[in-house]
Every structure is written in structure tokens, then in C-alpha cells.
């Protein structure tokens, strides 16, 4: 894809992500906040698409947008009545929140500026060829260097434990 088109797409997605993440926090109605969160997640998926990392885009869409967000919405629909709004925020919490956000921005900026990127002039160039699904799959279950069988298995066990715990909590006595 052309460089200009890449940049245009990047800035459009960036604006979408920033605007909707601010709206997700400031919105007074719960389901609207969830909808803005959906836009943030879709925008992030768009960024992965821009990098030609299609696998991560698919995961982002199906796990976050199609899975977790639907759980959120279900929980909101089941627990809150129509017209429920957030309580007015108390001032101290707002200040703490802003401080935490600024600290987050500082850390991210520091890391981004400090790190030596492979293509500092044009970050989108790295994604000019598609990353093959086979490579990802073999990296996940291989045992050599830069292959991740052990973390993969440990995460699998963790997930299993969480699933059993969830069933135990939800089970009727």
C-alpha cells in the first residue's frame, strides 16, 4: 500500500481510538460507554490490519469485540435498569484518575522514544508482507529458541483453572 494512504489510514484510526476511548470514560450511560469501548477495540483491530498482522486482527475481533464485549453488554442488560446512570464523580477520584493517566502517558512516551525501532522513519513498512498463519502456529507449539510451548501450556492450565473456578462459583448449591 502507498505510504500516504498508509499514513492517512493510521491517523484516521488513531483519531477514532483516542476520541472513542475518551468518550468511553466520560459517557454517563453504561451501554454507550460499552459501545465506545467497542469502537476502540475495532480501531485497534484496524491498526493490526494496517500492519498486515491478520491473525492478531482476527483474535482482537473474535476475543475482544465478539466475546468479552458481548459478555459486558449481557452483564449490563441483566443487571441495570433502563435509565440507570453513573453516580456523579467525586473530585478527588477525578484528580487521581488524571494523575494515573498522565503517569501512563509518561511511561509509554519514555519507552517509545527510548526504544530503537527497526524502521524509525516509516513504521508501516515492516508490515508490507503478510505474516503466515503457519509460522505463528509453529512458534506457539515449538520448543526451540523464540518458540513458546511452555508459556502456551502454562496459560492453558491457567485458563482451565479459571474455567473450573467459574463453574464452581456459578454452581447452584
Amino acid at each position: 500500500m502507498g505510504t500516504t494512504a498508509n499514513l492517512i489510514a493510521f491517523y484516521t484510526l488513531g483519531t477514532l481510538i483516542i476520541v472513542s476511548s475518551v468518550l468511553a470514560v466520560t459517557s454517563k450511560r453504561m451501554l454507550r460507554a460499552a459501545t465506545y469501548l467497542l469502537l476502540v477495540l475495532l480501531g485497534t483491530a484496524g491498526l493490526y490490519l494496517l500492519l498486515n498482522y491478520h491473525f492478531l486482527m482476527g483474535v482482537q475481533l473474535s476475543v475482544y469485540a465478539g466475546g468479552i464485549l458481548i459478555l459486558f453488554i449481557f452483564a449490563i442488560l441483566l443487571t441495570s435498569a433502563k435509565g440507570d446512570k453513573f453516580e456523579p464523580r467525586d473530585k478527588q477520584k477525578v484528580i487521581y484518575g488524571i494523575v494515573a493517566a498522565l503517569a501512563g502517558v509518561a511511561v509509554t512516551l519514555f519507552v517509545t522514544l527510548k526504544y530503537k525501532f527497526l524502521f524509525p522513519d516509516n513504521p508501516t513498512i515492516a508490515g508490507d508482507q503478510e505474516i503466515n498463519m503457519k509460522v505463528i502456529g509453529q512458534a506457539l507449539v515449538g520448543t526451540e529458541k523464540y518458540q513458546y510451548l511452555l508459556p502456551f501450556e502454562i496459560l492453558g492450565i491457567l485458563l482451565l483453572a479459571c474455567a473450573i473456578g467459574g463453574i464452581l462459583i456459578a454452581r447452584k448449591r
Binding site: 500516504t4 459501545t35 491478520h54 505474516i131
Partner: protein, 347 residues
């Protein structure tokens, strides 16, 4: 297609040519989408008529062919009714979310040899991921309409879609194991000798059946049309919508039926690949003369006909029967089927 690309590049430069091509493809896609919806609505009404020993639409044009065009004009002219105390932003957004998810899935279908818009390395995974976004739109529509019918419809629909997605995904995975790839063009190419439904022995046939059932349930159509059960919920999650906003839901429903049928024909019946029998070279040569688009649409409309047949033959399920069918019958079958297929591929 290359000559269009060349002309655009000489006059506009690379970036603008690219953008112009995106727009052209989008327009073509939307046109096909809308025209297919008209055809499907006409087919549904006609076939439904035959099943119920009626004639079906027969006033507008010869055999009523122009009936759905007339309906389209009517729905475009209708008033959009303003709902009191609804969340208008979400109310309007919902119909767009549903139609956008549907079009994203639609774009990944291989319509003919070479006419394939989105062909990622993760093809099938992309299809599953994008089609799961439609649920968000349904839940949004149900909640923002400020009515209990829509709310109950949306909850039912959400539960149904999330459950049946598992079976649909597992049955597609069976074919992914058989072919060893997720790229749709590659899957179609591998069926040039024989379609997967014949190549994959019993597991492929089973997967075809489970996919048809699960996919049919995902489109929210009878006998799985609980979300819009007319007698209980008026029209389910889109009760409050009017005019073209309702039209969007209507369009997405019909096209989702087409998409499910299209995926089924791509994965199991060879997509645009003609019917080939290994060894029968002259027979295969004759089959190749039939254009690939005819093969794809023929197989897809065959699957659509199966869906209509089921819809007008079976009574509606209850919600507990519906969820039992998925979690206690369909999903175990799919899991065992997956293991069977793995064994066949390995041995």
C-alpha cells in the same frame, strides 16, 4: 481487471488510484449485496408459496418478478418513526453495526474464479471473527428501543447466536484440518480433484450437516426464529424500527442466509470449482465449460433452498429445547467429529 488498474494509475497516481479502487470495489459489492437481497426475498416468497400450496407474488411483472423491487421502493419512501425516550444514538447505530458485520463477511466469499475480494491467510478465522460482531448490533437494537419485546428478543438472540457459533466454528474447523490451510482460495483450489464432502469421508458429511443446522440457527430463521417469534414478541429485537432502518435488518437477515449457504458451498461443495471426478478427463473438460460463477451461485442457491425447505417445514422450538440441542447434542457431535477427522488425516 488489470486494465482498470493501469488506467487509474496513469491518471491518478498510486495513492489515489488505490483509494479509487477501494471505492469502486465497495460500490460493486454493495450493488451485488442489494440485488442478491431482492432475488432472495422473491425466491423466499415464491418457494414459501409453493410449500403452502399458494401461488405467491404474481401481480407485479411476469410471475411477480418485480414484486421485491416494488417493495424496495416502498420501504425507501417510508417514514422513520421517532421513538420516545429511546437512546437514539445507539438506536441508529445498531442497524449499521449489523449490516456492516454482514457486508464484511460477504466480501470474503469467493464468487467466481478470480472474483474474490478479501483473501487473507487466516480466511476462515476472519469469517468467524467478523460474523460474531453482528450480535453486538442485535443486543444494541434490543436495548436502545426501550421496549420489553425488543429486549427479550435481543437476549434470546444473543444467547442463541453465541451458542451456535461454537458448532459452526467447530464444523468449519473439521474442514480446515482436512485441507491444512485457512486461506479460502487455497481451500477452493484443493477441491479441484474432488469436493471435500466426497473427499472427507463420513466426518465431512457430518460436518456439512452440523454446519447447515448451526448456520441456520445463526441466521435467526425458523424453526430457530425465537428472537422474533411473532406470536410472543411481535417482531423481536427490531419491533420498533421502521422504514429503511428496518430494511437494514431485513437485508442483513436475508444476506446472512446467503452467506451461510455460500460458506457451506465453499467449504464442502467446492465453491466455484466445477464438479470433477478423478480419471474422467473428458467429463471434467465438459464441466470446465460451465462458468465458475454459475457453479458458485448454483451451489449456494441449492443450500439456500435447503434452508427455506427447513424453514417452512418444521415448527418453532422452545428456548430450552434450542439451547439443549446446541449444548447437549450438536456440540458433542462436532467435537467427536473433529477427533474423527484428525484421525483420518493422520492415519
Amino acid at each position: 481487471m488489470m486494465w482498470i488498474d493501469n488506467i487509474l494509475r496513469t491518471y491518478l497516481g498510486d495513492t489515489w488510484a488505490l483509494i479509487a479502487e477501494f471505492v469502486l470495489i465497495a460500490i460493486a459489492l454493495l450493488t451485488v449485496y442489494a440485488v442478491l437481497a431482492l432475488i432472495l426475498i422473491y425466491a423466499e416468497r415464491k418457494i414459501c408459496g409453493f410449500f403452502q400450496c399458494r401461488i405467491g407474488p404474481n401481480r407485479v411483472g411476469k410471475w411477480g418478478i418485480l414484486q421485491s423491487v416494488a417493495d424496495m421502493v416502498k420501504i425507501l419512501l417510508k417514514e422513520l418513526i421517532h421513538i420516545n425516550r429511546a437512546d437514539h444514538f445507539l438506536f441508529r447505530l445498531a442497524s449499521f453495526v449489523i449490516i456492516a458485520a454482514s457486508i464484511c463477511t460477504f466480501a470474503a466469499l469467493p464468487f467466481a474464479d478470480g472474483a474474490h475480494i478479501i483473501d487473507f491467510n487466516i480466511g476462515i478465522f476472519y469469517l468467524l471473527a467478523v460474523s460474531s460482531l453482528g450480535v453486538v448490533g442485535i443486543l444494541m437494537a434490543g436495548w436502545s428501543s426501550n421496549s420489553k419485546y425488543t429486549m427479550i428478543g435481543a437476549m434470546r438472540s444473543g444467547a442463541q447466536l453465541i451458542s451456535y457459533e461454537i458448532s459452526a466454528g467447530l464444523s468449519l474447523l473439521t474442514i480446515v484440518i482436512l485441507s491444512g490451510t485457512m486461506q479460502i482460495s487455497e481451500i477452493v483450489a484443493q477441491q479441484s480433484e474432488m469436493w471435500f464432502i466426497f473427499k472427507g469421508h463420513i466426518p465431512a458429511c457430518l460436518a456439512f450437516l452440523t454446519y447447515l443446522i448451526a448456520g441456520h440457527a445463526e441466521t435467526n430463521r425458523g424453526p430457530f426464529d425465537l428472537p422474533e417469534a411473532e406470536s410472543e414478541l411481535t417482531a423481536g429485537y427490531h419491533t420498533e424500527y421502521s422504514g429503511i432502518q428496518f430494511g437494514f435488518f431485513y437485508l442483513a437477515e436475508y444476506l446472512n442466509m446467503f452467506i451461510i449457504a455460500g460458506i457451506a458451498s465453499t467449504m464442502f461443495l467446492g465453491g466455484w470449482m466445477p464438479f470433477h471426478i478423478p480419471g474422467w478427463d473428458s467429463f471434467n473438460g465438459i464441466m470446465d465449460y460451465i462458468p465458475s460463477a454459475v457453479w458458485f451461485f448454483g451451489k449456494t442457491f441449492f443450500c439456500v433452498f435447503l434452508a427455506l425447505w427447513v424453514r417452512w417445514s418444521f415448527p418453532r422450538l422452545r428456548i430450552d429445547q434450542l439451547l439443549n440441542l446446541e449444548w447437549k447434542i450438536l456440540m458433542p457431535i462436532c467435537l467427536i467429529n473433529l477427533i474423527l477427522m484428525t484421525l483420518i488425516v493422520v492415519l
